[in-house]
Symmetry: C2
Subunit: 270 residues, 2 copies
């Protein structure tokens, strides 16, 4: 495990439907960030507001068999960067709102969003397994996507599985999340990197305004970096991933040890 | 269920060991508050920093057989108020850091803190069951005590069981909680009333500074009322308990319905 890493969060506004353009920008910005880890927003290769499932399917990317995903792997390899980004993932006749972690050696892990927001339910298939922690030399990485933030169970599960850094590609339209992530960091003692997009999309009967203000929080809830609400930004922090192993609050409290799971059974049902 | 109620949070600083004095103040302040519900801080009948378990035992109150608890019931009855307050609870040879909900009809429900903070572990027995929701005419009430806030499982369980209002007697010395309760309110869509004490206690080798800033938050995370950090305060809000039944975020999201408990199994172990 590296002692210290440079973790960046790259907020930008994709042009809807321009997958090639977005991938080019991902390459350009990742190169510029010169970081061990970069996190991009949700659905950054495509834009957010699909007219229907068919349109989403046409802009989706097959992880194992597409030039687009091969290009993304190439970016991680060429820039020696762990790359996290959201994209519409095609898998047979299914399409997921997914996040990839691509390592500099080209290894890929995928998380498929399990809790879909609003009309995403009409576009995507819901994810089919719980998010997993990926062990890397820059720390144990957990991914969650946008709306997952409101379910404390997700970040908690990742942290219990040893995550140091929660990478959180987002396309936020509500105003709660950035504030609430303070709790996610401190209740779990983890770094959280919420990478949001900004800008406006109007492709259906409604206009969506994304809220920017991407942020990096420490395990103690310190705001290490924050972007503005309406512009391209590369924000970063030099962090020590192992800081997230320390769950000590007082001489007598390790707050993960203090949990009493025998009383948490209610969480297993709706 | 009443449509609207007046909920108050009464922040004060007890004199250590003066149980009679504290109960008198509880009577005086509850009368003054003229509310349907009042919440007092944790361990408000005794003060916080016991020298040892023996001292705590000597200041503890037996719910079923003591003049002190009979007096507290009398206050609820006389003032027609639902009273929530923290106290050291004696039960045989055990002593718990407990919170009572006493109804105007004299009915009593107790929650015994299950997650103890710091030296409380040397003083108290840990609670022996999960907190429960109590159905009343002023809403479904859940109680959690101070440090319980850092375990999202507690507030979540209460909300899933239908709590409208989370009453949260506290003696906070750290600075995280008031900020983090924003997440507790919005992730669960519940009212939260964090009643903290203020002031300094120095009874052992350390000095404790309590942080005040008691607060009432709406299910949407709106700060309805907040006390200062260093003075007696009665803060209140006129709230509609049934607002907490509404878990709708968008036309397609009821965020409790959206939970995927099949993926939350990790929470059942440490």
């Amino acid at each position: 495990l590296k002692t210290e890493i440079k973790a960046s969060c790259i907020q930008f506004c994709p042009e809807f439907g321009d997958t090639v353009g977005s991938i080019n920008r991902i390459f350009e910005l990742t190169t510029k960030a010169e970081s061990d880890l970069v996190v991009f927003p949700e659905l950054i290769t495509s834009g957010y507001e699909f007219k229907d499932r068919e349109e989403c399917f046409s802009l989706s990317i097959d992880v194992s068999n597409s030039s687009e995903f091969a290009n993304l792997i190439e970016i991680a390899v060429k820039t020696h960067t762990y790359l996290v980004l959201g994209f519409p993932e095609r898998a047979g006749d299914q399409v997921f709102n997914s996040s990839a972690l691509i390592s500099p050696s080209g290894e890929t892990n995928i998380y498929r969003k399990i809790q879909l927001f609003d009309r995403e339910k009409e576009i995507f298939d819901p994810g089919d397994e719980a998010p997993k922690v990926i062990k890397t030399e820059i720390g144990n990485i957990g991914m969650m996507i946008c709306f997952d933030w409101i379910f404390p169970e997700i970040c908690r599960s990742l942290a219990l599985d040893g995550a140091h850094i929660i990478c959180h590609p987002s396309n936020l339209v509500l105003s709660y999340c950035q504030r609430a992530m303070f709790a996610r960091s401190v209740e779990n003692g983890v770094f959280t990197i919420t990478c949001n997009r900004y800008g406006v999309e109007r492709r259906t009967d409604r206009q969506l305004q994304f809220t920017g203000r991407s942020q990096i929080l420490s395990p103690k809830g310190k705001l290490l970096a924050q972007a503005s609400e309406n512009e391209d930004s590369i924000i970063f922090a030099n962090i020590r991933p192992a800081d997230a192993d320390d769950k000590k609050l007082t001489d007598l409290n390790q707050f993960f040890e203090d949990r009493r799971p025998e009383f948490y059974q209610r969480l297993q049902t709706k």
